[in-house]
Amino acid sequence: MSKDNQILEELTSKEYEHGWSVNLETDEAPVGLNEDIIRWISAKKEEPEWLLEWRLKAFRTWLTMTEPEWANVHYPKVDFQALKYYSAPKQTKKPKSLDEVDPELLQIYERLGINLNEQKRLQGIAVDAVLDSVSVGTTFKETLSKLGIIFCSFSEAVHEHPDLIKKYLGSVVPMTDNYYAALNSAVFSDGSFCYIPKGVRCPMELSTYFRINAANTGQFERTLIIADESSYVSYLEGCTAPQRDENQLHAAVVEIYAASHAEVKYSTVQNWYPGDKEGKGGIYNFVTKRGICAGDHSKISWTQVETGSAVTWKYPSCILKGDYSVGEFYSVAVTNNYQQADTGTKMIHIGKNTRSRIVSKGISAGKSQNSYRGQVQVMKRAANARNFSQCDSLLMGDRCGAHTFPYIDIQNPTAKVEHEATTSKIGEDQIFYCNQRGISTEDAVALIVNGYAKEVLNQLPMEFAVEAQKLLALTLEGSVG
């Protein structure tokens, strides 16, 4: 075996850090999926009738749909009847504030490095923590509400802000958009909601931290972000799950609405359990994320660092409806061992003078498969639309795969679309060069990988970027030797 492969081999043998779970007393839905379960969930959440109807409609449509098979991923099919669709830690009463949240729950987050105690938290990030099917707490609510910013769990928003929910729920990702979005619409349990009023620049990063704890449970959260005219918000999302032998399903929906001159920056560091070295277990991450630049001069920017999940199926997209609106997608997707990722974006240019930029950096190690799938669509009305796409792949070792599937559909002759793609390998030469300067092999790989992903990591908020850098190194640890 060449040195390269040895290095890769070792680097990939590192275990998942967040693989522990906690025995919590839970309130769970019975196993299986049918209309009664959906009614059960809806009742549990004391939802209004219209929302139940909405869920049921989604469910009925879902039943007529088939699981998509076009993605470049292979996995045993999910038995939707074997899953539980709701699992919530038992709390005697609904906590009114963070002080009333069960300390055991807070401890889970502390173990993950997320301190929900506002005094102890770094100023500048408000967190909504979601455990399995429910939000366990949201920080800095009061500070934010002084500015008119609403940041709360989705369930809370359903009760407190029904008009906004009614108006925007499913407006960007229709309930019947695709198989997993329909499933999510039927059974979603909680998630985060955020509304930034007109002209307000959100003074802190808003963040949702998703954690799957329960076994055999699907996690179906929904995030809805509404940025009113000339507002700005930067939103962060982090995810982890325990190590389990069986695959777990995570099918989330994120909707972003940006009114004119509004800007939303959405960053994800996804670190779901990827399965073990033999490819056993891990999260199926089938997620629909979409934003609409509804107003003129609005901007939506997606940044994602994807390191976890056994199978990833995810295409954060932008509908550029407003004139002069801008969509961006920055992505680093790392796959190792038997992980499979099929990820990318869709940029739909509808308005005039719309611009989009795609920077995708794939890193494959072990026996993993990493695909970029991106679509750039320029509609008839979208005069002077511009797109620039850059898709790079980095291979570590000789048993992994990198694939690029760009789709371009242009209906306006004034459009300018550029696509660049490169494939490279971490060379033995690069590692030796670092070694010769006194740098250990693991640090050499981290240095090289971070250099490769720099353009994307630079898009992340500072605190997150450092985290992401460490995570990249950790994910690849053991993959070079």
């Binding site: 060069y433 670092c434 010769q436 300067r437 006194g438 240095l447 250099g451």
Partner: protein
């Protein structure tokens, strides 16, 4: 400082070095010359610990320690520096960032505190003058899009930052015009001290006009077949390598 005894090494089963003996003391400059394919670069690579080469026989001690037992990064941390013939590009990693990682890992190995950003920068500024290197170049991705001269200057700059006890310059003159050659050589000369040593691997005598060796060794078919002073280099320049080959081939019959 460095003691090489009967060193044999091969690549993919083919022997390249066939019994090298060499003593290098602190304060000395040794030049290794020889025709193409004689094993000069192999010797440099084996000393630095490149894995493709298999050492089949012999010993190398460096400052009293068994060099061949050490991983490449530990050799570097002990003070062995190789200026590469073909410096490697690392996209997205600036020379500054790269060197800061390197310097601090070396310091950690030696039980020293890491340099903070401010201190590191001030050391860097001072060393930059040695090789007349521009700070802009150091903020760019390491070696990416550098000219031949810039790459070699960058190598010597790294050497200045890492302050090795043994510097091995592998064909540092290749691809350099006369001005670059002067700058690079000046840098190397300024770094010379009674406490460190330099091995200059080169095909041509040209470099030795600038970096004056105490000893010159001629390598042929994996052995040092002739050793002398700097005059030997001049003789080689004048007469070429053929007479040495004949002498050596005759002796080995």
């Amino acid at each position: 400082m460095l003691s090489i005894h009967n060193l044999h090494a091969s690549i993919d089963g083919a022997p390249i070095l066939r019994g090298i003996n060499l003593e290098v003391k602190a304060g000395e400059v040794h030049a290794i010359m020889g025709p193409n394919g004689s094993g000069k670069s192999t010797l440099a690579s084996v000393l630095a610990g490149r894995e493709e080469y298999e050492v089949t026989e012999g010993e190398v001690t460096f400052k009293g320690k068994d060099l061949l037992e050490m991983a490449p990064e530990d050799r570097a941390r002990e003070g062995v520096f190789l200026a590469f013939q073909y410096p490697v590009e690392i996209p997205g990693v600036s020379t500054t960032n790269f060197l800061r990682t390197a310097v601090n890992q070396v310091r950690e190995y030696r039980g020293l505190e890491p340099l903070d950003a401010v201190k590191f920068l001030s050391v860097m500024k001072e060393k930059m003058k040695l090789v007349e290197i521009d700070q802009k170049l150091l903020s760019r991705s390491l070696n990416e899009g550098f000219s031949g001269g810039e790459k070699k200057r960058n190598e010597i700059f790294q050497m200045a930052m890492l302050e090795p006890t043994l510097a091995i310059l592998d064909e540092t003159d290749s691809g350099l015009d006369i001005d670059a050659l002067r700058i690079v050589s000046n840098g190397v000369n300024k770094l010379k001290s009674p406490n460190n040593a330099t091995i200059v691997v080169t095909h041509y005598q040209r470099l030795l006009d600038y970096i004056v060796p105490d000893f010159v060794h001629v390598l042929y078919k994996g052995r040092i077949v002739k050793s002398g002073t700097k005059e030997l280099a001049l003789e080689l320049e004048e007469k070429g390598y053929d007479w040495i080959k004949e002498e050596a081939d005759a002796a080995s019959v």
